[in-house]
Subunit: 408 residues, 2 copies
Amino acid sequence: MAVNLQPPRREDLLPVAGVELGWAEAGIRKPGRKDLLVIRLASTAVVAGVFTRNRFAAAPVLVCREHLDDGGPIRALVVNTGNANAGTGAAGLADARATCEAVGRLLGVAPQAVLPFSTGVIMEPLPVDRLVAGLPQAVSSLAAGHWLEAAEAIMTTDTLPKAVSRRVTIAGREVTITGIAKGAGMIRPNMATMLGFVAMDAAVPRDILQSMTLHAADRSFNRITVDGDTSTNDSFVIMASGAGDLQVVKRTDASFAPLQEALTDVARTLAQAIVRDGEGATKFIEVRVDEAHSVGEAAQVAYAVAHSPLVKTAFFASDPNLGRILAAVGNAGVADLDPARVQLRLDDVWVVRDGGRHPEYREADGQRVMKQSEILVHLQLGRGNESTSVWTTDFSHDYVSINADYRS
Amino acid sequence: MAVNLQPPRREDLLPVAGVELGWAEAGIRKPGRKDLLVIRLASTAVVAGVFTRNRFAAAPVLVCREHLDDGGPIRALVVNTGNANAGTGAAGLADARATCEAVGRLLGVAPQAVLPFSTGVIMEPLPVDRLVAGLPQAVSSLAAGHWLEAAEAIMTTDTLPKAVSRRVTIAGREVTITGIAKGAGMIRPNMATMLGFVAMDAAVPRDILQSMTLHAADRSFNRITVDGDTSTNDSFVIMASGAGDLQVVKRTDASFAPLQEALTDVARTLAQAIVRDGEGATKFIEVRVDEAHSVGEAAQVAYAVAHSPLVKTAFFASDPNLGRILAAVGNAGVADLDPARVQLRLDDVWVVRDGGRHPEYREADGQRVMKQSEILVHLQLGRGNESTSVWTTDFSHDYVSINADYRS
């Protein structure tokens, strides 16, 4: 079902020096599938992360924030699927801490050096015994070449693993970046998505890495939506192992901007992969808003279009019922929007001129674009010079089926 | 498909003195169905209305506002289905005015005394010639006993006509109230829904009638949602014909509050009928939020739950995957919400205590409630003393089918 998304090929996924990955079949929710991942980092590694703004943030998210705020070295990540450990109160927090302690014992590092992540059903107790029992298997398989298995180990309703690598030369030095992500539903990240992990071998100080992470998130995971539901577990982490050739010391370094752009490119590719694999998706849609008063306003309008069930079902049906897009724009909460300044194009087809149907618009032209698997919805608001894009999917019968049957 | 909604019986719909209704089959979109309604009001009538806040408000909405602001008497309403006359620019505005002129000529009243309403597909030119050609038939059938036909004439994707009557005695005088409404999709009214018309025979000054209309809308049409999409054409109108026994002169009259409550009751019944007939609905769900800081905050949280596709598909599946409700609450934008103070009940079943799963909650109990056709989702936020309720539906395969096929 995924839209123009290929499974990653093992040979395309580059090991990152200083980063090892191991997995297990711990039977967290169901037996016989990879559901536990451990990532071990070199002692030189620096880690930064952004997390969900959902007020019901999951226990592992709370523990991640705590361990990162602690300021000490981060030496390992542990990820389970099958259970979100969210809405689980004090017991859930204890389970997340116990997970970090168990990983710490096995790797010989402090519990505070471990970041925990969970994804799956909300409000069910984490089967922490089964998780801990699976850890030795995960640790015994740690190796730098296991990115594909790692991508598989974090899948839930994803139909394909999501992973990408880039090798770039910056300031004459080679940097290797590899990232994985999971997610297909409950996707409208607010800070980051559940779950994205990107590693590189460059050395970057913590504060600079954190700002690079925010920069990348705001242009990737914070610009996608499948169903408008922000998860309790969204987490996006960048790991700089420091085991490679490139070292960034300060923001004014010539290498800062190119490295930030390379990381953003990897994050955007992963974020778009999540949309392409969105639950029930048959179309990949970019909603681009230009001439907004601010980037925030552009995003607000783009999300109003991207979240409208009526717009999404029209895309599913390839029906150029494009008045629904205008209704969504009018509904976006921009109080002083002047409809008479709004332009709408579908790819190259000019549909709405100055707030009304373009006199030369023909439904056959709209129909042609609507039938494509990738569509650009291009809006101009006539209010300013700011722009943004949001990537989303259509809304199909399969979305309903997948989410009506998720737990069964 | 409608949830516990019966078609209105002709004998239950009471004529309102001073109000006549006539219809036609004008072939606006398709031939052979009622698609045009004219309501004629006595010269004593007073009319108030509330309209969509969508910035792409339809041409008839703009003309309604203009004619009401004008302050002169309103003597007729004209309603077409099959075409929303929205996103139609200057031509659409001219068409709406031409419609009022044609009605005015036939009834011998000024064009400014006519309020126009449209519902149907957005961004297609109104076939004003067919509409005007159908008016003589509608006018020739004007009669006080035609409320059922009027309810039928304003239907689009509705599966059943929606109409209700009440006869109440206030301050020793009898008042008759009859209302009709339409709507099944693009339902998240913001001020009022497309379309609600309520008439009564009491006499009420314009300013008091306007505040009664706002009061009723805020407790009825402004508290329902099917898909979160605010229409371009939402309109809710109350007509006070003044042909009956009761006269309200000022807000301090003993009759003011009971009459306002009777109107609100009629509006709420019609609004809930729209939800029960929501596109693809299999369940009727009340989301009640107590202990909020403000009514606005309560509504914000209730809508976040009522709009979540994941919550709605879980209800469709009768799957007590209730963590999705917590995720929606955490996602409602209440920045300082303390999860540890949140309680969640499903009807009488206590699911979440102090932000986590209640230790005595059993999934079988949640399952029992989820299987019902009517469900109360009851949240307490532990932040204050304000409450509100929002009524909504589940999200089914049929919603997708209906909206993917709407125009075909």
